[in-house]
Subunit: 149 residues, 2 copies
């Protein structure tokens, strides 16, 4: 049984380990812990930005981030943007991801959102099958552009 | 010359007209003005959520929304999420869109973002060519799911 709750400062190292333990994320999460803690502290000042963790017997086994975005379009729909979804590699295929997205949906509804949205990197085929099964529609192309310093 | 600035409450009706004047948005923006004004007021309480308008001689000719999202992933990168980009139909092809995205980039950098991201609906071919030209990479699939009441 996984319990989902708001992440705390002492969870940050475990969350970074989850983000790094991934074919796409490997080698990417190399910042010093202090940089992640500073980002966590900044997230806490953004009232619409939430780091959620899934906990099993004291172990952080899953994580996602969700941001509530009020906007004018689509008849003034508030939307929930999901980022950085991850389940511990040794626990995949057990329904934790599905439970996590149900938790995200419940939080989004409670915040008045009528739309959930997320992007997955092309090539993440298992993730795409996962979101297809959950009733998400791959209706958009996701563009990114890095802003070099 | 288009001047970009934060949208004001009295701009909301003009912004909705821009959002509605679109092959994909047509027929979609049918909420009463009060609903849009309430969303605008809510946006103003979200310190990281900005409605920007482009103004020419007192006319609102373009709009976009940008949300700054702090997060842990990608070495604690802060990102700027762009939504609801629109240029008045009679003024397209004159560089307003390019100027608007330059404005977005400047605001994103000033907010400490190192990544800009947005999605476009599949089939918006002109939009896709536009973002390709601006150096955006179509690396992701954008999933949406409506949350019915």
């Amino acid at each position: 049984m996984t319990r989902f709750r708001e992440g705390r400062r002492e969870d940050v190292a475990a969350v970074i380990a989850l983000l790094a333990d991934d074919d796409f994320g490997a080698g990417r999460e190399t910042a010093p812990l202090d940089a992640y803690l500073a980002a966590f502290d900044a997230m806490r000042t953004e009232g619409t930005n939430h780091l959620i963790v899934g906990e099993q017997d004291g172990r952080i086994v899953a994580t996602y981030q969700m941001t509530f975005i009020t906007g004018l379009s689509h008849r003034a729909t508030r939307r929930a943007q999901v980022e950085s979804v991850r389940v511990a590699a040794d626990l995949r295929g057990q329904g934790i991801g599905r439970a996590m997205m149900a938790d995200a949906e419940a939080r989004a509804r409670a915040a008045g959102c009528r739309l959930m949205q997320l992007t997955t990197q092309k090539g993440r085929n298992r993730a795409q099958e996962f979101y297809d099964r959950l009733g998400f529609t791959p209706s958009h192309i996701g563009y990114k552009r890095e802003l070099s310093p």
